[in-house]
């Protein structure tokens, strides 16, 4: 479970299949809240959602954008694509954090941020997203069918540093794919759940840094409710209140505002006070 439940926690999981998601759903006590067009799950206390995208890049992009809208995800949201992959470089059951994402269809490559890897000792590797199940694993790296599509969209709606791709090795050259059933996948995931939690905890630390950056200064909402500020006046007000808080932590800016003052008079008053 999440140990660091601070204001601003916001997490979204994008996972292709139910078998891959089952342990995550259980671990974070999520319940189904929608069935179509994609099954969606949610924790009742936390702003944590999970979507089952189905297989393939198109599904991954569609599901990510659907969940973005459906869950009203803020900019400061953690997005994680999780699932099983094949590789010739690792053993079955190993958890991998992706540090480079390439696609057989597109030229651009993506690089999830090293901030997300800090201190977790989880192995890192490049991901190759393909359109058909891979059996030969000719190149070094791990192979999936969703990661590239997911990342290409998620990086547009959230900071790079909060978008992560996590994979567990399920097949290696020679694996009989018909034997990778739901039950086996759930076992692979459950064995790694503590490490998955660790990755999430680290991402939550990063999210907190951003939350504190994006938060409105104290008294901003109250003052905006009292008087009508234009958009650009709100920008200035936000700046002045931030500076006010740093300079006069003991002085309540609300007490500086006279009843009949207009928005521009309020800004002038703050500016004059801050000048020296």
């Amino acid at each position: 479970m999440i140990k660091k439940n601070f204001e601003g926690v916001s997490v979204r999981w994008v996972i292709a299949l139910k078998g891959e998601a089952e342990e995550i759903i259980k671990n974070y006590s999520m319940k189904r809240v929608a069935t179509t067009p994609f099954p969606v799950y949610k924790n009742k206390d936390l702003d944590m959602w999970l979507i089952l995208s189905g297989i393939g890049q198109l599904n991954a992009v569609a599901a990510t954008s659907y969940l973005y809208v459906k869950s009203d995800a803020s900019y400061n949201t953690i997005w994680i694509n999780f699932g099983i992959v094949g590789s010739r470089n690792f053993k079955v059951g190993e958890l991998i954090q992706i540090d480079k994402i390439t696609s057989s269809d597109f030229q651009d490559n993506y690089y999830p941020s090293p901030s997300a890897f800090k201190n977790n000792n989880i192995q890192r590797c490049n991901l190759i997203t393909v359109n058909k199940p891979e059996k030969l694993f000719e190149n070094n790296g791990v192979y999936d069918m969703e990661g590239y599509g997911f990342f290409s969209f998620a990086k547009k709606i959230a900071p790079y540093e909060l978008v992560s791709v996590l994979k567990i090795i399920s097949d290696i050259p020679g694996t009989d794919l018909s034997k990778i059933d739901k039950n086996r996948v759930e076992i692979l995931v459950s064995k790694n759940i503590q490490f998955i939690e660790k990755v999430l905890e680290n991402l939550l630390d990063l999210q907190k840094i951003l939350f504190l950056q994006l938060r409105d200064p104290k008294y901003f909402d109250e003052i905006c409710l009292q008087k009508k500020f234009t958009f650009s006046q709100k920008v200035t007000l936000r700046k002045y209140l931030t500076q006010w808080q740093a300079r006069f932590p003991q002085r309540n800016p609300l007490e500086e505002i006279g009843q009949r003052m207009t928005a521009s008079q309020i800004l002038k008053k703050f500016s004059d006070n801050l000048l020296r």
Partner: protein, 329 residues
Amino acid sequence: MVDTIYAEDEIIGTKKAQEIISKFRHAKVTSIKRFGEVFNPSNQNFRIQKTNPALILAKKQKGFVLDAPKGFGIGDQNNYYFSHMYNCLYDCSYCFLQGMYNSANYLVFVNFHDYQNEIEKIIKKHKEKKMTFFTGYDCDSLAMEPITNFINDFVPFFSRYKKALFEIRTKSINNSVFRKHDPLANCIIAYSLMPETLAQILDKKAPSVSARIKNMKYLANKGWRIGLRFDPLIYCENWKAQYAELFAKIFEEIKEENIHSVSLGSLRFPKSFFNKLLQYYPNSEELSFLRSNDKGIISYDQSIENEMNEYCRLELMKYSDARKFFSCG
């Protein structure tokens, strides 16, 4: 220190890139096509990246040497600056780099020879003129010397061009590279300084001011020429006493004759840079004194700026020849 290295395909096999990579035995090396893939794409966040910056090795393609801004200089007619690296080991709260970039990764251009060729061309083109080449504005070259060997490469290079001054701006107390070379008359080791109590709050991860002074003294005694850079001047309560104490301490330790130049600069940012800084440091009292002027530049009120410049100049004149004083633009 660094657990991730990105290296452009074009330079990953070069001697310099391999030399740098070999210093990080535990880092994961990932190949990239161009540094723009990992440095500064939109939606990156400087403060988050600063928690674990990666090292990026790349090739600078053009724009090796640039003209310094008008009015910037330490006495010579022509002034240039060049940057073999973007971003810094230190984490100073007022640093413009965090306003300029979304990325805190260290970007090192490893093709030093191309810089040297360009500098050589400029020196030959303006044979009769005195000129200064500044470095250490987009990074702290000396702090990263154990990794890049930049100064070790450029001190011998500038020893061939006595008319060209080479300024290394720094806060680092690393002096091993200067012990390897004979002092160079046309090389200025220029220290960024501010009162100790302010530096403790603002110059995060940088050596203390007293350690910087101690190192300046060491280098001066070895024969290296020292620059004093009070840029930016920081306004705070009791600033007069703090700056007076700082100047006294410096000149108590270092002989005036070892000082090549002294420069003073005001704290200024473009609006967009400042907005980011305020977001990053909402509790910074030092940033709370800054205002937007009519040109859209964020600075202290003109009266504060003038008072600080005036006072500091007069104080410094107690210890040093005013002809050595310059303004940082």
